[in-house]
Subunit: 242 residues, 2 copies
DNA sequence: GCTGTTTATAGTCAACGTGACTATTAAAGA
DNA sequence: TCTTTAATAGTCACGTTGACTATAAACAGC
């Protein structure tokens, strides 16, 4: 089955689809674009597009992300981008056979809703997950898969810092967990756990942020070199004992 | 970028590649086939092949698995098959642009090395991971990714039973963990943990296997309905405290 | 049969992580 | 100044886990 006779295989179109998440106003938001073209014209969809002839899926995903969000290439190159899975149902696109590699990306809360790429995608905006209406193609399914993957990975990786600006307080980090998991966490316990995990966060030498907040000023932290969380930070009320 | 102008995208070939694992003789083995055709002819490779026009990647993976192993369709349909990730480097195939969706599969130790599918693949055999020489394409990378994914999933899922026959002893289950992780586990502690996890295994009503073994006969268990392991069964010596 | 080996199973104990709290400190707003 | 809000410090009991020891039930060899 691995012969390379040109008639032995079917040509497919290959796309990437991106579930780009951010935490905004106490809710987990996802980036959606309004489709301007034929299948599902006018519907909201995840950003994405076709692979160029010499692009890998990851390269294409970062390119699309830069185009769609208007972020600088250097910023996009540093973002957490994770391949989710590939969707290949024969009928997932009404027109033709399209195989799509889905990615999940995490970005800190961005100043403006979003810029717009070329003249192709009509609009782009942040929408709280759960308030997205029906989406084009199987994008609701992709979004659902991405959401649960991100939630699960917060348990045993350090990627929560990907939702935070370069310097952040432990309160901000905790609210990332609380927003993604949609649960409340005990503040002292969260703090104890995060600080007890070597390399998760590291204190910024001097400074404590006074201005905006209306409580005791919090210390600032940066993301540390660790990527995994051992032992994991399990979310509560997830149908398990202890 | 999501227009459907037929000239807007490049056609790709799409394949599936399978990392099929089993535990044989105290080692984790992977199923390899010897390529009979042009690119990398004579080299060992993971089984796989092109998607048929109306197949999803998962359907194609199960079809290839059945063809390559000679297992009955019903058996293949019940196996644990998990999408790993998609490999899309532009140069991963020297001939053309091929995007491959990789899967990992777990099978119990099978009686015979393996049957052979059509007349296409020259040979198929089980090889201990780590004793595979160089592999065709980027299959060494895929195998490596599959191996670490399987090892990680043993920690927080119940899929270890996928390596076991329908009825098994706790000693056999433990040796699956020990083989995949390549570490020794304390037997009483392993037993306590497995039995304390509701739905992981359930005792077979009557019977204890006496024949083959040369110690006290062990009780037989079946895989239970649970799929997740909460709290996880963390592997030791993995660079973390406790 | 007896004895040693092998494996399964039972049980103990201390260390650690975690959930549930309470208390204190330091800012902003009334 | 007093209240409110949030950060930080600290306590305590419980459950899980790692490291052990002990017993039971088979077989192999003498």
């Amino acid at each position: 089955m691995k012969g390379y006779d040109p008639h032995a295989f079917e040509p497919f179109a290959v796309t990437v689809d991106l579930a780009v998440f951010t935490v905004r106003g106490g809710a987990l938001n996802v980036l959606l674009i309004r489709r301007g073209q034929d299948p599902y014209a006018g519907a909201w969809a995840l950003p994405g597009g076709f692979l160029l002839p010499r692009e890998s899926a990851e390269t294409a995903a970062r390119r699309e992300l830069a185009e769609e969000t208007g972020l600088a290439e250097a910023v996009v190159a540093a973002l957490h981008l994770e391949q989710l899975r590939t969707y290949s149902d024969p009928d997932r696109d009404p027109r033709m056979r399209v195989v799509s590699v889905a990615f999940a990306a995490l970005v800190p809360d961005m100043p403006e809703p979003v810029a717009e790429g070329g003249g192709d995608a009509a609009q782009a905006r942040w929408v709280p997950v759960g308030e997205t209406g029906p989406l084009a193609f199987d994008h609701a399914r992709i979004l659902s898969d991405a959401r649960s993957r991100i939630g699960a990975k917060l348990e045993y990786t350090c990627l929560a810092t990907g939702f935070c600006p370069p310097e952040f307080t432990l309160g901000e980090l905790q609210s990332v967990y609380e927003t993604v998991w949609d649960t409340a966490l005990d503040r002292p316990n969260f703090r104890r756990k995060v600080l007890a995990t070597p390399g998760f966060v590291e204190a910024v030498p001097g400074a404590a942020r006074l201005t905006g907040g209306r409580g005791k000023p919090a210390a600032l932290y940066r993301a540390g070199p660790a990527t995994a969380l051992h032992p994991p930070l399990l979310r509560p009320t997830e149908g398990h004992a202890q």
